[in-house]
Amino acid sequence: MIFTSLEFLVFFGLVVAIRWPMQNQSLEKWFLLVASWLFYMSWNPPFVLLLLGITTSDYFIGKAIARSNKSSTRHLLMGASLSIDLGILAFFKYANFLTDQWRVILSLTGVEADPVFWEIILPAGISFFVFQSLSYTFDIYRGKLSPTNSWRDYSLFIAFFPQLVAGPIVRAADFLPQLGKRTRPQAALFESGLALFLLGAFKKAVLSDQIAPQVNLVFASPSQFDQITLIAALLGFAAQIYLDFSGYSDMAIGCARMMGYRFLDNFAMPYKSFSITEFWHRWHISLSTWLRDYVYISFGGSRHGTVRTYVNLLVTMLLGGLWHGASWNFVLWGGIHGAALCVHKVWCHLLNKNPSAPVQGFGAILFGWSLAFVVVVLAWIPFRCANFGEASQFFLGVVGFGNGTINTISPQLLAGLFILIMGQLMFSKNQSWDVEIPERPFWYRFAAYSFLAAMIVVFGVTQAVPFIYFQF
């Protein structure tokens, strides 16, 4: 059930309409929980059991960690939570990949193996809800969070349908307190949610889905296309993945807001970043902060010297790449970003600057933006290509060493790029439309919403095109 599909609009409309008159808070939460399970079952019904399993195990482990005073027991329980969650993730996501790597290692030693590859269906959103559940036990283990006494509340935190399939990765500390008090949708919050949902649908159905077929065409066989087409497709993919994922996040946050719940932002104009460090403060924020808090800091963060800091950063980004999928391409993507972050840190260290501090001066801004943008865009090549071979073909084509001759730059691609560039130029990095628009006069809001709605009904793609991040 994709957010831009008619079936989701019907489902969501029913959920809001049925929940609205409910007076009993407990009943309301049970209703949202059952609706979330039904939402998840629309992908593959049996996998709801997996969701229930992870939820239940971490709920009880969390309680046990909080009860235990012995450090060794807490270690053991945290290890159990990690093993269960990561074990499930590893099985569904990486089993065949790991088997294949084992085969490659054996063949390098001269042993030809013919391993069995399972036909494993990846449960929708598994990477997201596993990370969300893990953050709960981690926070209790670190003493930052008290466990909830309600299995229902914990289940709703994990399964709440707006964020279930592709995030944002919500933290228990942000969400569980919202379940503690009765949340009635307020008019201003509802409108802000509706505005965000409309904006997200515009990004997804009008922009991303129009660009997608043209980008897919070029990435399917990059060796056929000439340099300019490859560059256009690469920029097109940069636009597509941002519009697709930030559009999804906007819709998820918008849905939650319409029901009275608040999620933190997941994107903040990432392509306007003046450095790669800033890019990671603005791109997929819920994942980057998760990796920082639970991987980078767990490895020691910056507490063990300069070299160890860089190693920790690189390993964190490599794992972040692997989180996206079982392929060396994603590892390479993570590696490029990790290396770029290290280089930026070294550069800032040499200049005695804080990597997160704002860049000053026109020259520095232009240089920083160009460099960060080129690195980010080029890193999308291994991310999007099916394998190393295609990625290297694509890269060679982009830098002018390809043999392809087909030139096909579609009007949709040009229009998408134009809108993206105008969006970058016209709007401030810190502008939050969903907050700003509802505060404007009636006619302004009417014009803004009408524009978005009109674009969706005229240029929107209605075929259900899955969000890119659903595959992760």
Partner: protein
């Protein structure tokens, strides 16, 4: 005036929820008006579900009914065929039509001597759904067919959601037709700039039968970029790669042939060719085998029906005979009609 009225309405019913509701209604209405305006300004074609042509060439008590989509109109010179065979033909069809839709066009076609159904691998694929499906096939029939044929959830959902989606198109005529909007807008801009439109529109044929302009050019005139873009567009029209030939369409064809046989009608199924460019990019070997198997099973169930496969004719496997990826041009039409006549002449037909 309207603004004053609206303000007075607001002054009566105050409160934030009222403002939001008013906004919602106004935005909904303005989007609908804009959609209608765009459809009107671009000269949106009203998709006719049924087009009918009668070619009486004699006084026959029992006419020949011919069903097909625009593929038939482009591939077969029906006037020539009718005259050569001395038939009284009543021709019916709809855009991207398949037996699932033809079955309901057949309802008023009793007492015919022969029934000819023109179709192709493109139209028989269950992943490809005609825009006329919802206006011709009752919802409950679609529910029953998808249930009986155990279609996958994705395909079932796509077929059944088309019904409410088409109802929404009454309010927003451009909804789900962004490709058409873009092609028509491009042609309008070209016309405004004084540049002629492309010889073959990327939006497919306007009518079930070709115009003289459409029938002259060939797929070989297309540059590779245009070909690739159109291949992508064709792939988007389909739920999946063409590979499933067991669903509501094959079931409807089965029913048509069974019913016709019971009323003493001679059944002919003609499989039309599509371009090699389309086949190479949209249909893999597995799909071709599945299609062959579906036709063999059909022949087994209906041994008295005549199945003529023009899609396997080597002579027609040439992109130069096609106007776009699936429609033939004048040369293709001449060759296909001649081949069909030859096959029909070699067969003893009952009149």
């Amino acid at each position: 005036m309207l603004c004053k009225l609206f303000k007075s309405f607001l002054s009566v019913v105050r409160g934030p929820w009222c403002t939001i509701l008013s906004l919602f209604v106004l935005v909904f209405c303005s989007a609908a008006v804009f959609s209608h305006f765009i459809a009107y300004a671009l000269g949106f074609r009203q998709i006719k579900s049924v087009q009918q042509a009668t070619e009486p060439t004699g006084h026959f008590s029992r006419p020949v009914f011919s069903f097909g989509s625009s593929l038939k109109g482009f591939a077969i010179d029906e006037a020539l065929l009718t005259n050569a065979r001395g038939w009284h033909t009543i021709s019916k069809g709809c855009g991207a039509g398949s037996p699932a839709e033809f079955e309901f066009l057949l309802n008023d076609s009793a007492n015919n001597s022969s029934l000819i159904i023109f179709t192709s691998i493109f139209e028989m694929s269950e992943g490809m759904i005609s825009p006329s499906r919802t206006s011709l096939v009752p919802f409950l029939q679609s529910v029953q067919d998808t249930w009986d044929m155990v279609l996958g959830w994705e395909q079932t959902k796509t077929i059944l959601w088309k019904y409410p989606l088409d109802s929404l198109q009454e309010v927003f005529p451009t909804l789900g037709r962004s490709w058409e909007v873009q092609v028509l807008a491009r042609d309008k801009i070209r016309a405004l700039l004084g540049r002629s439109s492309t010889p073959a529109s990327d939006d497919g044929p306007i009518d079930l039968n070709p115009t003289s302009n459409e029938i002259q050019s060939s797929l070989l005139d297309w540059d590779s970029g245009r070909l690739e873009r159109n291949v992508v567009q064709m792939q988007q029209m389909s739920v999946s790669l063409h590979s499933n030939f067991a669903g509501p369409k094959s079931r409807a064809l089965d029913r048509i042939l069974t019913r016709s046989r019971q009323s003493d009608t001679f059944n002919i199924v003609v499989i039309l060719p599509v371009s090699p460019a389309f086949i190479s990019r949209n249909v893999d070997r597995e799909a071709v085998n599945a299609f062959d198997l579906a036709l063999i099973k059909l022949q087994d169930r209906h041994p008295d029906a005549l199945i003529i496969r023009l899609d396997n004719e080597g002579l027609l496997q040439n992109d130069d005979l096609f106007w776009d990826l699936v429609h033939m041009n004048a040369r293709g039409q001449a060759s296909t009609t001649a081949l069909l006549l030859e096959r029909l002449n070699n067969t003893t037909l009952q009149k």
